[in-house]
Amino acid sequence: MTLVESYQQPETKARSARSDSVLLDVDNLHVHFETTRGMVRAVEGLSFDVKRGEIVAIVGESGSGKSVSALSIMRLLPKMTGRIPHGRITFDGRNLLELSDEEMREIRGRHISMIFQEPMTSLNPILTIGLQITEPLQIHLGMTHEQAHERAIELLGLVGIPDPARRLEQYPHQFSGGMRQRVMIAIGLACNPKLIIADEPTTALDVTIQAQILELMKDLSRRLNIALIIITHNLGVVARYADRVIVMYAARLVEEGVAENVFHKPRHPYSMGLLRSVPRLDRPRGAKLETIEGLPPNLAIMMSGCRFAPRCPFKIEKCAEEPALLRTDLGGLSRCHRHEEIAAGKLAWTGGGGGGEVSAARKTTPLLSVRDLAKHFEVRSGLRGSGGTVRAVQDVSFDIYPGETLGLVGESGCGKTTVGRLILKLEQPSAGEIRFAGTDITKASAAEMKALRRKIQVIFQDPYSSLNPRMTVGEIIGEPLHVYKLAAGKREQHARVQELLQQVGLRPEMAARYPHQLSGGQRQRVGIARALAMEPSFIVCDEAVSALDVSIQGQIINLLEDLQRRLGLAYLFIAHDLAVVRHISMRVVVMYFGRVMEVADRDTIYAEPLHPYTKVLLDAAPVPDPTIEKGREPRLIKGELPSHLAPPSGCVFNTRCPLASEECRQIVPPLREIKPGHAVACIKV
């Protein structure tokens, strides 16, 4: 099969007739990258359209081609390597792929704007915000400096940045992440574009800030009739904001439809699996998460047949043939041979999920007991050399019992990691004590520590950087066995490594591989195996699943729970995803700005949160259900996170709290037990 032939899709175009209302029409788009490993087909035969004022979401596995599609529309693919061998992108009646560079430049920023994932790096650090906002105004609209300045002030006001005139003189680093993303939106809005493409605009932001930004975007889109393409992997976001959803898998569109339909009545097995593998706040907690076993395919290799087939529970012989994109019963599109059977409800997803009860055996003596823990960092920075103290953790107390999982949630920078590091004795606390099985870790001698170390282990967020890239999996897992002489001789060590690999669901031959030869999920399993090798009784999981794809995340969570049941492990599970925490934890600690706000049982805290912060936190996290989300009024938390160098007086939350009164600015509220096992640090409760 020659390349050219491969672009000719067998399918007939089964899409809605083009009308005037169609703003963007992507038709049979192919994108290739030249790499040393050969050609990567990042996008194949993608077709979709966007109507004026419509909000379309693109979801899908990491690497499925979402960003590349967006960049192709902007024609911002890397010049040297990226290529669009085939396709048509019609925007407002013009084929963007046929425009000259100059014509395309005139469209960018003028008619189509793009907002990127990383607000921290998307602004030029050495130019003022003002210049960066006025730049497109002067270029596209030919405004004078003064006019542009006026408009920039207006724009900043529009995106809710106070004191805009002064802010224009400042530089990006003087803005918080959320504010930078607002600036990006202001830039995007500057020339009144018809379409804004937002590629994961909030993934890098905190939950509360994320909600602010998305509400803002949706509001502006509606008011100014701007079409919006949101690329995300957060299904809650999709549910709340999207009119229509496009699901991509392995460079292809696999399903398209109205949001409600895709969420409630998915017509492609991948969409089904995806939706089922997300832990949800809005549903009772299932004992085990659904997962999609297996891994996405390698795009550098030519494939035939359905790309999801290897992971699909409904695979049949016909799946060896490439399925066409077919119109479904609901008027959407699905690239599945069996979509009709799915529609008919004949196929039900029976993954590894379901079943299994949570062990909630609580013993009376805590395994780990943290009391009045505090950690202060002395910082000195910049040319001014002005120093300050960052009170990263203050007065934190909690217990963890054997076999229990304690969830620790809170926004970025609230001190979660620091608490974990203190427990691991990677940092020395400024005050307080940490008792582990009776011994105070903070005062333990080197010998005592050596014994304790074996009992307390850790799993980190980024599975790649937590494995030494120069050691094989076997060496990584075998190292503690060797150092602590947990295995007599090479033989036994080898056997033990094999056993551990098996325990975390890896094949024995993986022992010879290096970390870079593994997928993210597999790497995280190696991390877990390494922790298990020491036979610990307690593991600190610091964002252990945050960096993983949704479909893989489920696998790891299930594994952790499984191990807990079998080995009686206790976990401190640190995360910012409330749904995940809810799923895995028995009790939850909510932190804000270095302090504990609320501690309660999992069910209590999600059902009846008492602390205002916990409430907004739960509120800000959208659930993957369009019906619920669209009916919900936004309850937004105002303001930004306070700065550590100028901490608020009194209750740390008073600057953003809807209930805050003068009193809150005076008193530091103590953590009070309201009900047995439910403590809150708020004077208004």
């Binding site: 891994l295 050596k450 980024d462 120069r470």
Partner: protein, 297 residues
């Protein structure tokens, strides 16, 4: 752009030799490496390759211009320049290699230790490195040569090598320190600390192997610099001593008396130095690109 797709690993691993892979990815670097190998072979087999003995004086052919007998002419003593360049490759490579090994080895060790322990130790080491760095290289080299005297082993002055190596130490230490600092902050080091491993194990097993890339890059770059510095020192009369065949020496000493009359005496050794250094730099650059994951697709 860094986009390593998660499935990269799942292609069946083609057992490709790293040299072949390197050659494919970095053809210029391979050219550099090839030249280095040629030099090395020429140096090792100089006895067979060189047409003349590099030490024999020939009063009948003093300052002879390039000809069929003497491709690159002869020097003031009638010694064949070509042969001396070939034998000189020995000196150059040995000095370059040993000095660089010594300098970047010690520098790397200091850098890693400094980064790992941090705090006061780091502070003290850094200050001392500052002092060394702000000390003029020439004085440092001179002082070392003068203080230690000559210590020839097999025709090579080990103290000269030390003198060339010392100025490298602070630079390597800096680079390796910052690389090690970055690694020290990575979770796998935390994991190792959390596992309670001994400092030496963490340093040697976990940090050191991961600063190999910057180390190798510095190492090749410093071979090139050592060759240049040896030439400079010889030019100032502090390097290799006559009648040892060495490139730097061929540019200095007595040839300073004759070069304007017999330019070939300095042209060819100068070209030899430049080419060798060029080759090492090409190779080093390519190695950097090759080892830098950001350049891997």
């Amino acid at each position: 752009m860094t986009m390593v797709s998660p499935d990269a690993a799942f292609r069946p691993r083609q057992p490709r030799h790293p040299v072949i892979e390197f050659a494919r990815a970095q053809p210029t670097g391979m050219a550099g490496l090839a030249f280095i190998v040629i030099l090395f072979v020429a140096g090792v087999f100089a006895d067979f390759v060189a047409p003349y003995d590099p030490l024999t004086l020939d009063y009948g052919a003093m300052l002879a211009p390039p000809s069929w007998e003497h491709w690159m002419g002869t020097d003031a003593f009638g010694r064949d320049v070509f042969s001396r360049i070939i034998y000189g490759a020995r000196t150059a490579l040995a000095v370059g290699f040993l000095a660089s090994l010594f300098g970047s080895g010690i520098g790397a060790a200091i850098g890693v230790v400094s980064a790992y322990f941090g705090g006061r130790i780091d502070m003290a080491i850094e200050r001392f490195m500052d002092i060394l760095l702000s000390f003029p290289i020439i004085v440092l080299a001179l002082a070392v040569v003068a203080v230690l005297g000559k210590f020839p082993v097999g025709g090579l002055d080990l103290n000269l090598i030390v003198a060339i190596a010392i100025p490298m130490i602070p630079k390597v230490a800096r680079v390796v320190r910052s690389a090690a600092l970055a690694i020290r902050g990575l979770p796998y080091i935390d994991a190792a600390r959390a596992a309670g491993y001994h400092h030496s194990r963490i340093i040697f097993r976990h940090i050191a192997p991961n600063v190999v890339a910057p180390f190798l890059i510095m190492f090749t770059a410093f071979i090139a610099q050592a060759i240049l510095l040896e030439a400079s020192l010889s030019f100032l009369g502090l390097g290799v001593t006559e009648p040892t065949p060495a490139w730097g020496l061929m540019l200095s000493g007595t040839s300073q008396e004759f070069y304007s009359q017999a330019p070939w005496m300095i042209l060819f050794p100068g070209v030899a130095i430049s080419l060798a250094v060029f080759a090492f730099n090409l190779f080093g650059d390519a190695l950097r690109d090759y080892l830098d994951p950001r350049f891997k697709v």
